[in-house]
């Protein structure tokens, strides 16, 4: 529908612009990622982007939607980048390609395309892949462990000898370490996997995502509710647990900078389509995701909990939004 009615003025913004800003905001994190862990992630981003665009174009053609208009909205590219950043950078090429195809074809278009998907496509892809290929999805390189050529070789079919190519991620190290009898957190934290204030190397990637997230806040692409409720919730629950059992649970700063916490707070949970939309709803949604993330991290079977927490909270969004409608003008109780 093209309107002939008022308003005749429109702000110069578009979905393309919103998605473009998100991509721009991802760059600091990506640059730090490449600097510390090598070019593997760049190859993954390239693979995912190409796959996403091909799948998006195919689905749009099947659904007879205008190709130029929808392909140019960059939403598929954002999904692709998030998948590439969530997947291990040295995973085989088909892992990220299959994940991205699943995200675009099933999680996005089979649910009705842009704006209609109840689940975050990138997280749906991550969840499907980690359930199907747990070993491959858990092979992460340590900081500076593998050169560019070695990473490329692994992606395109090199031989995988797990111990030689991967170091444990900090969350993994924590989990397996703490399962040993008489294990103590302080001892563990001195090991290779841990850095200055978080996972070794990952802490700086997280800072990169934080910078990008603050940019999105400043540009008013996202609001403060989701990042604050997620980070705040995680800090709160981690601080309490650390206070009660300092030998078993790491401190709040570690929780915030390990794994996908920052990516989740600013780029994944803030996805407007699959997330809550009312201000109070966003607080509940992101706060719930924080609690679930912490629980999955420490009591679940997977190294990180952000993806499953996001998907579980996606399920609750219609209810949350329905129950958190803000009072309208003239009906407030103040």
């Amino acid at each position: 529908m093209t309107s002939l009615n008022s308003p005749y003025l429109r702000q110069a913004n578009s979905v393309t612009q919103v998605m473009g800003e998100v991509l721009l905001a991802l760059l600091p994190g990506v640059i730090v990622y490449v600097y510390i862990f090598g070019i593997g992630v760049l190859i993954q981003i390239l693979l995912a982007t190409l796959t996403a665009l091909v799948c998006e174009a195919g689905m749009l053609k099947i659904r007879s939607k205008p190709l130029g208009l929808y392909l140019g909205d960059l939403s598929a590219v954002v999904t692709a980048w998030l998948i590439a950043l969530a997947f291990p950078p040295i995973g085989p090429w088909w892992l990220v390609v299959a994940g991205t195809a699943l995200a675009i074809v099933v999680a996005k278009h089979l649910y009705g395309g842009l704006g209609q998907n109840p689940f975050n496509p990138a997280m749906a892809a991550y969840a499907a892949m980690i359930v199907s290929f747990p070993a491959l999805m858990s092979q992460w390189p340590g900081a500076g462990q593998l050169g560019g050529a070695a990473q490329a070789a692994l992606i395109f079919g090199g031989e995988r000898i797990a111990d030689a190519i991967t170091g444990a991620t900090p969350l993994d190290a924590l989990r397996t370490g703490l399962h040993a009898p008489n294990a103590q957190l302080i001892e563990l934290m001195r090991s290779q996997a841990f850095g200055a204030f978080g996972g070794r190397g990952w802490e700086w990637v997280s800072v990169g995502f934080l910078i990008g997230g603050l940019y999105l806040l400043a540009r008013r692409i996202i609001t403060w509710h989701v990042p604050l409720a997620f980070a705040g919730g995680l800090v709160l629950i981690a601080a309490i647990a650390h206070l009660l059992a300092p030998l078993r649970y790491p401190d709040a700063l570690f929780e915030l900078t390990a794994g996908a916490a920052m990516l989740g707070a600013f780029f994944i949970l803030t996805d407007p389509v699959s997330g809550a939309a009312t201000p109070r709803g966003k607080l509940i949604y992101a706060g719930g995701a924080a609690i679930l993330t912490w629980i999955i991290r420490h009591f679940g079977g997977y190294p990180d909990g952000v993806a499953f927490a996001t998907l579980l909270m996606n399920l609750c969004v219609p209810l949350i939004d329905m129950k958190t409608q803000p009072p309208v003008f003239g009906h407030k109780k103040d």
């Binding site: 093209t2 009615n5 008022s6 308003p7 429109r10 913004n13 919103v18 208009l69 309208v328 003008f329």
Partner: protein, 526 residues
């Protein structure tokens, strides 16, 4: 002392485009060849015509009279001859026709007799009737009959808000009128204040109009008026909405469906205050208004325009550009596209926005909603437009109403900010009209059912009445018959029965006589 201001949620800040049309003073418009004065220029009932084709009229002569309490009179804007009273195209986006008085001006501008009104000594009801007959309606664009607003609620009135916010881009008619006629606007405000018994008057003006604020403050000081304050309010669309301005100045939120007087506040536009002063001081009814001509013209400017003047006549004065493709009545946020260039200026015409494809390019194609929530952040009535859109699109109008569809003031902020360029206001207008249509249908069905039930009941009742009548009749007859058997024959029956008895007796005697003669004759031959 700085007044504490309140804020409403949301709002947007589009480019104002106001400076171009404020460079020149308010201009005069030469008489057009013909004035087309629609009778219906107010919210409420259409006035009925008082003149017929061929009659000559004086300037200020009433040509349409209010027919119901919500109606307001219409006057001949100049002297001349009535060419016709007939339906013409109205300044309405639908191209609807309505009864208009077409007047050929004679150029003499002969006035009716006018005199100042002794309004202080007038009975309030008479004064309200006089204002109705002077055709004064809200000139902010809503054209609500002013006489209906000139009564305070039950609890009396605390604050009179004079609305000089003028938040729509391009429009500067109130701005220019405040600059040039500040004193008269304030005098009008005092008349309204006294009629309403309001404790204080707050004149709200957006702070992008420093000249108007200065002029109003100067006039205020010169007149040494008490309890009136000129308040500069932040520039943010839609501050000029009555409820938004009341919120900013008093902190009160008037909910949908309630009147501000229930909260002790009433609101009038600056132009309306000017018109009321003009009427009580000079006895002049409302014949013209200030109109901003802006957009695709060489020299945007404000003009004082007689009602009925074709819009093209005014736009050409301002130098309408050749690539003009539309006129919009009102501003770019809430204005309506006119069906043609020659529709007349009416009381609601605060602005003729001359449009071109370059000035107002058609919006980008509509994309799916991504629930970004920009619209909810921009909504001045705290609605969730994306939820309402979702339900309106699914034609789930009941759900849309649950999300307060009818609290929507159609200000256009949501559509203005939408990154998917969804014409949200169109969806809401559509949903509202569907709900109204359904309600009308339901009402029609309801009244049909009531009529049908009534008819059935009536038939049933008539049947019953008939049966009762019949029963009563038979009962009476039976009772009568019984009484004849029991008692002596009634007087009326007597002669009949006597006659019958006599006849029977005669017949019997004849038969007996015959028998006797027969017997005698039978005996003789023997």
């Amino acid at each position: 002392m700085l007044r504490q201001l309140f804020r409403f949620h949301g709002g947007v800040k589009p480019a104002t485009h106001k400076t171009d049309s404020t460079r020149l003073p308010i201009g005069r418009v030469p008489l057009p060849a013909e004035l087309i004065v629609p009778l219906h220029q107010n919210v409420g009932g259409t006035p009925y015509p008082l003149v017929a084709a061929g009659e000559s009229v004086l300037k200020g002569q009433r040509i349409g009279a209010a027919e119901d309490p919500f109606s307001s009179a219409v006057h001949a804007p100049t002297s001349g001859r009535v060419i016709a009273v007939e339906p013409c195209v109205l300044p309405h986006s639908s191209g609807l026709r309505g009864l208009c008085v077409r007047i050929e001006p004679d150029g003499a501008e002969r006035w009716i007799e006018t005199a100042a009104l002794a309004w202080r000594s007038l009975d309030p009801d008479e004064l309200r009737d006089a204002i109705r007959d002077a055709g004064i309606v809200g000139l902010g664009g809503a054209v609500f009959p002013s006489h209906r607003k000139l009564r305070s609620g039950k609890g009396g009135l605390d604050t009179l808000v004079i609305n000089g916010a003028e938040c729509e881009p391009f429009i500067t008619c109130d701005d220019m009128q405040m600059r040039e006629h500040a004193a008269q606007i304030l005098r009008g405000a005092t008349v309204i204040q006294q009629m309403l018994g309001a404790r204080q008057v707050l004149v709200g003006i957006e702070d992008n109009k420093p000249e108007a604020i200065a002029a109003m403050n100067a006039a205020l000081q010169a007149a040494a008026l008490q309890n009136i304050e000129i308040v500069a309010v932040p520039t943010r669309y839609p501050t000029g909405g009555a409820k938004q301005l009341i919120r900013i100045l008093t902190g009160i939120e008037v909910p949908h469906g309630k009147r501000s007087t229930q909260f002790g506040v009433q609101c009038f536009n600056t132009g309306t205050a000017w018109a009321i002063a003009d009427f009580v001081e000079n006895g002049r009814p409302l014949l013209s208004r200030i109109v901003t001509v802006a957009g695709n013209v060489e020299q945007p400017r404000n003009y004082e325009v007689l009602f009925g003047t074709p819009m093209s006549h005014v736009a050409e004065l301002a130098g309408m550009q050749p690539d003009t493709d539309r006129f919009i009545m009102g501003g770019p946020m809430m204005g309506f596209r006119m069906p043609n260039f020659d529709v007349p200026v009416v009381k609601a015409t605060n602005c003729i926005l001359v449009g071109s494809p370059a000035l107002f390019p058609s919006p980008r194609p509509e994309m799916p909603c991504i629930r970004c929530g920009e619209c909810a952040r921009a909504c001045p009535t705290d609605l969730q437009p994306f939820e309402m859109y979702w339900h309106a699109r699914a034609k789930n109008f009941g759900k849309a109403q649950e999300y307060h569809l009818f609290d929507c003031i159609e200000c256009g902020c949501c559509a203005y900010v939408c990154p998917s360029s969804i014409p949200l206001v169109d969806y809401f207008r559509f949903a509202k009209s569907e709900v109204w249509a359904r309600e009308q249908q339901k009402n029609a069905a309801d009244s049909a059912r009531v009529r049908f039930d009534f008819r059935n009941e009536r038939i049933e009742r008539e049947k019953q009445e008939k049966a009762e009548k019949l029963a009563a009749k038979t009962a009476a007859a039976r009772a009568a018959a019984q009484s004849t058997q029991e008692t002596a024959p009634a007087a009326e029956d007597d002669p009949k029965k006597a006659l019958i008895a006599a006849a029977m007796a005669r017949a019997k005697a004849q038969r007996e006589a015959q028998a006797q003669t027969d017997a005698a004759q039978d005996k003789k031959p023997e």
